[in-house]
């Protein structure tokens, strides 16, 4: 597409705990282009949030540590910046919206104070300018009576409204990259639809790149240009959205798609769950981390962890047996006719 905005290379994050070292992120490499929406999909413990917190340098150290990796944002390795330099980037060029709008706002400050803080800090605005901009931002995320509501406290807002305030805060300094960590997971579907609608519109208007972390394949299908599927701290498959849904080539992605009931499918035969549990991140297997739960496993999978291999046009899968997956997945996905592969 266009210029690379964020280039993450071989990033690892570990946490030293009493039970041993937790390998949360195990060497992920990916890029985000300017104006692109990247979906990061995975279950709890797959490392999707931790990898993004590492990018934002929000991992507490200790117990956290980053044994390797580069996070190049606009030519600068964020991991090499000093705390003060990083503070200039965070909330300014790269902003993050967190999952839980109930706990990520400060309950004793008005939301006006919380939004204008970043504006005064990063944009050098005075109080009046910042307040004016804050009203604009709240209007942008469709909060009615924005002017009056600036003086309200977080508890006076509903969950959906708080998440909008969070998005407004994230957007306050017009970041080039917005990282949204499950921003709609705590919300009801009708409110979720409102929020995704707003984000799509703003992305179009502001032209920023978005990394959208989620476990919900449905939400991401309508939002992302490209998707990284994560499992046990590895990216196991990456492709353009349409390609990934039409042509999944990792057993885990196929398993995820097979285990969710779909609104447009009736009460049919059984779902195909992924049996078993994800591996313990303290004692990761030497082979493929998905081995225990995989229906396509072979001896090689036990011995050697597969790297990401090119399996199609801009499509990579970390599976030795992706050809077998290609043959058998339609059966698992209960598809009668395979959908056409998008160009």
């Amino acid at each position: 597409m266009s210029n690379v905005l964020l280039d993450v290379r071989n990033l690892r994050t570990e946490f030293v705990t009493q039970d041993g070292v937790v390998h949360a992120v195990n060497g992920v490499t990916f890029q985000v282009d300017e104006g692109e929406t990247l979906g990061l999909v995975g279950e709890s413990g797959s490392g999707k949030s931790v990898s993004m917190l590492t990018v934002m340098r929000l991992i507490p150290m200790p117990p956290g540590r980053i044994p390797s990796g580069e996070v190049v944002f606009q030519g600068q390795d964020l991991l090499k910046l000093s705390t003060e330099e990083m503070r200039q980037v965070r909330g300014n060029k790269v902003a993050m919206v967190f999952q839980d709008p109930m706990t990520s706002l400060n309950p004793v400050l008005t939301i006006g104070t919380q939004i204008t803080e970043a504006l005064e800090l990063h944009m050098g605005m005075n109080k009046d300018q910042a307040r004016k901009r804050a009203v604009e931002l709240l209007k942008m995320v469709n909060i009615p009576e924005a002017e009056r509501r600036l003086d309200d406290y977080p508890h006076q807002f509903s969950g959906g409204m708080r998440q909008r305030v969070m998005i407004a805060m994230g957007l306050s300094c017009s970041p080039q990259l917005l990282i949204a960590d499950e921003p709609t997971t705590a919300l009801d579907v009708t409110i979720q639809a409102q929020i995704t609608d707003i984000v799509k519109r703003l992305k179009h208007e502001l032209g920023m790149a978005i990394i959208w972390i989620t476990h919900d394949l449905g939400v991401i299908a309508g939002l992302a240009d490209r998707i990284n599927v994560m499992y046990s701290g590895y990216i196991v498959e990456t492709a353009h959205t349409k390609e990934l849904f039409a042509n999944p080539l990792h057993p885990y992605t196929v398993g995820l798609l097979g285990s969710i009931p779909r609104l447009d499918q009736g009460k049919k035969e059984k779902l195909t769950p992924i049996e078993g549990l994800p591996p313990d991140l303290v004692n990761l297997p030497t082979g493929c981390p998905f081995y225990d739960r995989c229906t396509f496993r072979t001896q090689k999978c036990l011995e050697e962890n597969p790297p990401l291999m090119s399996v199609g046009v801009k499509h990579w899968s970390a599976c030795w047996n992706y050809e077998a997956v290609r043959e058998k997945r339609d059966e698992i996905l209960r598809r009668t006719v395979a959908p056409p592969v998008a160009a």
Partner: protein
């Protein structure tokens, strides 16, 4: 097993509801209301208002079926489930289970009835006592209802664990040693221990990861077939409810606004709220998502303390007409057991 409690003929003198012609419902809920008081004052608390969590719902549950109850948070779906099981005593209305009105039963009779009705809770982390072993947790209902004792009890517990797909040797372990999905299985084993006919499943999979959700859904379906269970399945996820339910009731602000079989609800939704709710559910397919038209509702759900006059949905309804603000619509049958509460459709 208990002395029959005198209840006036339960179904007469009630507003007409969706009773089937052959009326063989296992459970009939009639005009059920649950208000929670809001009080003020420290020493002399006086009631200043009510949270009208459930405000007059009526429906039947037939033996062997799964009735889905969907709605957004705060619509009263969990309260409905709990009020049916008399975990909350209803403010008004009847809950007729096998011809007996549970709302009239005294505590001892009710306790005996509980062996026929059980509940599976949402949060597998909060609904198991962390100080009890799995064996004790699953055995507790057996003891309370005096079903089996001694060695037999242990065998029964092990059998139950096996039924829900857990290793029977786990009986001496504690809940914290299990993952979320396994804990939910323990909760299911506990519910099954007394051989119930009717189980209220209150968001049993919402707290679980996607790949684990399917395991639990499949388990619930298997158990239903094997033991002839009847479920009231409460959830906010419409895709899951469509998958598991025979019929679905949609709740909004303490009322059921639409009830029909799940195929009709998804293919021919009539109530504007149901339509908006369905259109908001994302479908994991980018090609379909591209073409879908969303009905985006404005605003939030109003407070159940002061629900809007007239139709409760009129403040957010895209189809509202003047009458909606004044008169509450009636619950009516539009054919084939499809019930809806709306002036417009």
């Amino acid at each position: 097993m208990t002395t029959p409690v005198q209840t006036p003929d339960a179904t007469s003198a009630l507003p007409p509801t969706q009773t089937d012609a052959n009326n063989q419902a296992l459970l009939q809920v009639r005009g059920l209301k649950k208000y929670f008081p809001i009080t003020q004052g420290i020493l002399f608390q006086k009631k200043v208002a009510d949270v009208k969590a459930v405000d007059g719902v009526s429906f039947d549950v037939h033996p062997g079926e799964t009735l889905g109850l969907v709605g957004e948070s705060g619509c009263g779906k969990s309260t409905t489930g709990r009020t049916i099981l008399q975990l909350y005593r209803p403010t008004e209305g009847q809950v007729i289970f096998r011809g007996k009105d549970l709302a009239q039963l005294k505590s001892e009779d009710l306790r005996k009835m509980r062996s026929d009705m059980q509940m599976i809770f949402q949060d597998p982390y909060a609904s198991l006592n962390p100080r009890m072993t799995v064996g004790d947790i699953v055995a507790e209902p057996l003891e309370v209802h005096n079903i089996v004792k001694g060695k037999e009890k242990k065998e029964r517990v092990q059998e139950l664990l096996q039924i829900v797909g857990l290793n029977p040797y786990f009986i001496n372990r504690y809940p914290h040693e299990f993952s979320g999905g396994q804990r939910q299985r323990i909760g299911i084993a506990r519910a099954l221990a007394v051989n119930p006919d009717f189980i209220v499943c209150d968001e049993p999979i919402s707290a679980l990861d996607v790949s684990i959700q399917a395991q639990i859904i499949n388990l619930l379906e298997e158990l239903q077939e094997r033991f002839g269970l009847t479920y009231l399945f409460i959830a906010h996820d419409l895709s899951v409810v469509r998958h598991i339910s025979d019929r679905v009731a949609v709740m909004y602000l303490g009322k059921i606004v639409e009830l029909t079989d799940s195929k009709a609800l998804y293919e021919n939704p009539l109530h504007p709220y149901t339509r908006a709710l369905l259109s908001a559910v994302p479908i994991p397919d980018p090609l379909i998502e591209e073409k879908r038209e969303r009905i985006i509702l404005v605003g939030d759900v109003p407070s159940p303390v002061n629900p809007p006059k007239g139709c409760r949905f009129h403040t957010r309804c895209p189809l509202a007409i003047p009458i909606c603000k004044e008169v509450a619509p009636e619950w009516r049958d539009v054919g084939n057991g499809h019930f809806v509460e709306c002036h417009v459709v």
